[in-house]
Symmetry: C2
Subunit: 465 residues, 2 copies
């Protein structure tokens, strides 16, 4: 408890009277519950506050500002890069209790939600109106809209619908000094002033704390149909992906599994896979029931020139669910096989996928670290999984060098270090590899405009200077 | 020529040796050609430079920076808000000669273009690959990609494909001190650092001079089919628009004409229109030939509940072109009827269109200034045209008050002052009505990060302080 000294007595007093003992948490057990995210790293905050209203968020941030206390905003803590961890201590500000769906406008196709609304809960609510909000991270059943906005989250649907930045019309946020701002609005067009909405989306909670979002909604497809298509090589699969992108309607998902991922599925599941398959695509189409199966078959017909070994007819319902389940089983299988999995979500132009795979195979061979790759091929966004044992110092010693080689490979292929996970603490030492110095300097200056004392979500995104 | 004194002799000398006499223009006639845009306002720059390479842009801006000379970047000068006018004198920097299409990647569906490439020229080139770049401002045959990026341009297709910000993957730009920066990249996903690409898009040339853009491309629809649908009231037309937005595939355009626009067409064209029609929609669908007509008819069937008076069967080719021609004829007709037309491109949520129209009719009645309205109903983006005679001081005296009422009406309806034209000089005194003070202050500070001396495109966007 001795680190508690960083929350001075008067501040603790004010927070207690503002939030009560139930929402200003200082016990070791309570603080521990907010110390983790999907990185597996642990940083225990000095205290946790559970805000319920934007006025409380204003008051909390003003207190932090006046007393120079570092503060880390947090949604559900499902992030992959440490963005919601209090890595420099201080206050952890949970937005999870701000979970009201404030308004759903069917004629104008927007929803106004508080930051703590769970993505999946919103989807359930929208379902009744035949609408949905397209961003679909794999954590959608638990992650919050505030987290999605902070990280510019995405999932398989991005190939057709784009990412979070494409589905946010406006925001309400609070600056570190407690001032509330509004950006954007309720219209699908608007060009008055700088695009502050898109500046906040993906800023990982380092510029302001988002309290509300106005989300643009889409018509929910009546049906989704899924096919599995296996190929003898990554080259053929990648060429098929490029071709599928030119179809008259975009697929709603083009997921990819490499040879090592298929080997795992062969070993650990009952999925029947051709022996020569070295790559597999999961092709999903979505739309009205009428004509959808024909569309899927037309797409499969269109990629016959890339010599698929085998393909399944388009299926929906439980049959599709079992294929998605096999895809989702990869993560637990990896966790079972290796004590630790390091997951990097790099992205390259689709045509570069074969070179990325060849390069990754070489790195894996030379380092003797198994690498398993799968992900959102339609966007060239691949989850590169290094399987390691943290108890083996020889292997762990090689990890930084291997990651450096992976990142260098990706950048040499005109790619980006992160397609959807973000930077957080995990990639801050590498972003200068991708961004030029002048652009990085501008970003640091913009951060200072919003947060001159560096109190908001410290230790994230920008390299240590 | 006496204002030429603001370009000091040594700078003129350096520009001459850098660009030659042919591309450093100081004659009154040459300067006059760069003094106009679509506002009809005239601001003669002190000199004009025609850059051909990004290295020249770097050198020009560095000179301006070192000698504190104001500089206004310009594409084709087709803007509606004065964004490309040298309103505070100084140097006018034309990007029109930087018009190379550097690369078109068919498998990765992007194009790399210089800022001066004409939108329509790019489309012609992309046509051969079955691709297009969706932003479609009405000036597309002359406007440049750099101008589109600066203003976040859009047109009728925005209802389906979105606006310029949705179709830019990355940028190359030059800061006022001559430093080159790169933002984004060649992938359709990427979340490394702040979204500098979207910060520059729509910043109206006030932050940096964009020299190159990496544009995301879409598959060009095989066919477009257009129907005219007339309604007895704006209410019914607006309700039909909301319904059309929920169709299984988005229309590629939902254009709107109000009663006063229809009156003009009755009087000035041979278009047959039902006598009771007080609103008309132009509904366009786009896609593969197979099933497209059925889709259009299904949409028209779906809006029968809103009691259209009449509708034309979906047509393409020359028949569709003649309808678009009638829509396009509105602007010349307005110019013929009134010595001056003041065109404000406001936007409201679609469901608020009836209230917007009622309010505009009241303002027109009370001010005795005719107002004609048409525009992109699918986005709630309406071009409000005030018809005035600049030689009539009584009328002109009422204009500022009328504009104030229009803007107040739009904001009361949760709208925005500009959907696609931007702020420039024309709306800078009104943006504080829409943006809150804290957000405006942040924007001013961001402007200072990029351009501390306020040399780049001065007199635009932000209110006089």
């Amino acid at each position: 408890m001795k680190r508690m000294t960083v929350i001075p007595e008067p501040v603790a007093g004010e927070l207690t009277s503002l939030l009560g003992r139930e929402r200003f948490l200082t016990s070791a057990a309570d603080r521990e519950s907010y110390a983790w995210d999907n990185t597996g790293n642990r940083f225990v905050p000095d205290a946790v506050v559970l805000a319920q209203t934007r006025e409380e968020v204003c008051a909390i941030l003003r207190l932090c500002h006046d007393h120079r206390i570092k503060v880390t905003p947090r949604g559900a803590g499902t992030g992959n890069v440490g963005g919601a961890l209090a890595v420099e201590g201080g206050l952890l500000l949970s937005l999870q209790r701000m979970n009201r769906i404030v308004e759903i406008s069917v004629p104008d196709r927007f929803a106004v939600v508080e930051a703590g609304v769970v993505n999946g809960d919103l989807q359930t609510k929208l379902d009744a109106y035949g609408l949905f909000w397209p961003p679909d991270p794999s954590s959608s059943r638990t992650c919050t809209i505030g987290g999605n906005v902070a990280m510019c989250s995405a999932g398989p649907g991005a190939v057709r619908w784009g990412v979070t930045r494409d589905w946010v019309l406006g925001l309400e946020a609070v600056l570190i000094d407690g001032t509330q701002i509004r950006t954007g609005g309720r219209t699908t067009k608007g060009v008055v002033g700088l695009d502050m909405t898109r500046l906040l989306v993906g800023s990982e909670g380092t510029l302001a704390v988002v309290t509300r979002a106005i989300l643009k909604l889409a018509s929910k497809p009546e049906q989704r149909l899924l096919s599995r298509i296996s190929f003898p090589s990554v080259e053929m699969a990648a060429a098929a992906v490029s071709h599928l992108l030119s179809a008259r309607q975009s697929p709603s998902a083009i997921e990819f599994l490499d040879g090592s991922a298929l080997d795992l599925l062969r070993r650990e599941t009952t999925l029947a896979l051709p022996a020569q398959a070295r790559a597999m695509l999961l092709l999903e189409v979505a739309g009205g029931v009428s004509g959808l199966k024909e569309l899927a078959l037309e797409m499969i017909e269109g990629i016959q020139r890339f010599k698929p070994l085998e393909w399944s007819p388009p299926v929906d319902g439980s049959e599709a669910a079992s294929v998605w389940a096999a895809r989702s089983a990869l993560s637990p299988i990896l966790k079972k096989l290796a004590p630790k999995r390091i997951n990097e979500d790099v992205v390259v132009p689709v045509s570069r996928l074969p070179l990325l795979m060849t390069g990754l195979a070489r790195i894996s061979d030379e380092s003797k670290i198994p690498i398993v790759n799968f992900g959102h091929a339609g966007n060239g966004n691949i989850h590169v999984n290094l399987l390691v044992d943290p108890r083996d110092p020889a292997i762990m010693g090689r990890v930084p060098g291997v990651l450096d080689r992976v990142f260098r490979l990706v950048l040499d292929l005109d790619g980006s270090l992160s397609g959807e996970h973000g930077v957080g603490t995990q990639k801050r030492d590498h972003i200068a590899w991708e961004l030029d110095q002048a652009c990085l300097n501008l970003q640091r200056e913009i951060k200072k405009v919003f947060d001159p004392m560096g109190l908001l979500n410290p230790g994230k995104v920008w390299p240590r200077s």
